[in-house]
Symmetry: C3
Subunit: 142 residues, 3 copies
Amino acid sequence: MKVSARNVFRGKVAATRPGSVNAEVDIDLGGGDRLVAVVTLASLEDLGLAPGSEVIALVKAPWVMVLTDASGVKLSARNNLAGTISAVAVGAVNAEVTIALPGGTEVMAVITRDAVNELGLKPGVAATAVIKASHVVLGVPV
Amino acid sequence: MKVSARNVFRGKVAATRPGSVNAEVDIDLGGGDRLVAVVTLASLEDLGLAPGSEVIALVKAPWVMVLTDASGVKLSARNNLAGTISAVAVGAVNAEVTIALPGGTEVMAVITRDAVNELGLKPGVAATAVIKASHVVLGVPV
Amino acid sequence: MKVSARNVFRGKVAATRPGSVNAEVDIDLGGGDRLVAVVTLASLEDLGLAPGSEVIALVKAPWVMVLTDASGVKLSARNNLAGTISAVAVGAVNAEVTIALPGGTEVMAVITRDAVNELGLKPGVAATAVIKASHVVLGVPV
């Protein structure tokens, strides 16, 4: 597989929590890093996802928010991945920001250049990647 | 909280409509401006959202569509926020467009430069910001 | 209607599959091209979507992933639209990529310039547009 998504996370399913329509899937990315995805029950069965399954999680970089001061707020998004900025590349309107998580996973966000300036984003700054669980596309090797 | 999302709407919960899996949350942004979000029932409870609660709604600018002629079509997206363009900043591929709503709320969209040209977007032009309710991330002060 | 979304697909509803909360809508785009959308049951009724209905499907270009080697992986995303790249326009950070489907539909994706380079995207290259069904906004003529 070769895909345009800047975030291609490979891991193992740690747990699945089927609901009446959707299922939450906890993914162990290694080194203690985790990601939660929500897929339909139909996808859960179609992909055969169960604890221990190998899984690929795809997240486009423009779907990732960056939070630098997470204090004073609690969000509905299931993934609040705290790490440290490892790279910033700035364009005319947008910028790519890479956040390294403690376990070694790197998360790339595309945000506006204005946001980079306002938040003072540069390598070494602590930042949290916010990803809605329903924005994660899951894949399995076939 | 400091976040990269260009749209950080502060308001109060006007109503919640819990369903079997998700809940719709109507948010009063002040001045008559409103936003609808959909979150899971688990998030609704976890954040303690109820009528009157203070709430922050985050929407990344690339999640916002801009409609200039809303005539002749009815959309599935829950938020169709009519206003007037207050700013346009153009890059190589993308552009940032700000729409001022009647109540004073400003909504920023990132769209392609081609769309800006085709739709003739410039300050003073009437435009509608279209936002899917499921693309809104909610937060509460803690 | 004039909208910023780069993908405005016009078609007819081929089938609807109502669930307990959401409904899947199969859309015939002509020439054999198909798209699947997920909307709430409330939207399905509100828009009066039924087999044979005229429908407009809106998808912003940043919501589309591009896959060049779909081998070895099965994805949770419902739309995996295989075609051939017909155009690539590159900016500082982002790039617009157009994929022509066999039936004549064109799908535009906004991805990073790095992805264009890594995947070797240029006109004539086979590529698959990946779109989550829940990211499609539906509209009907009124």
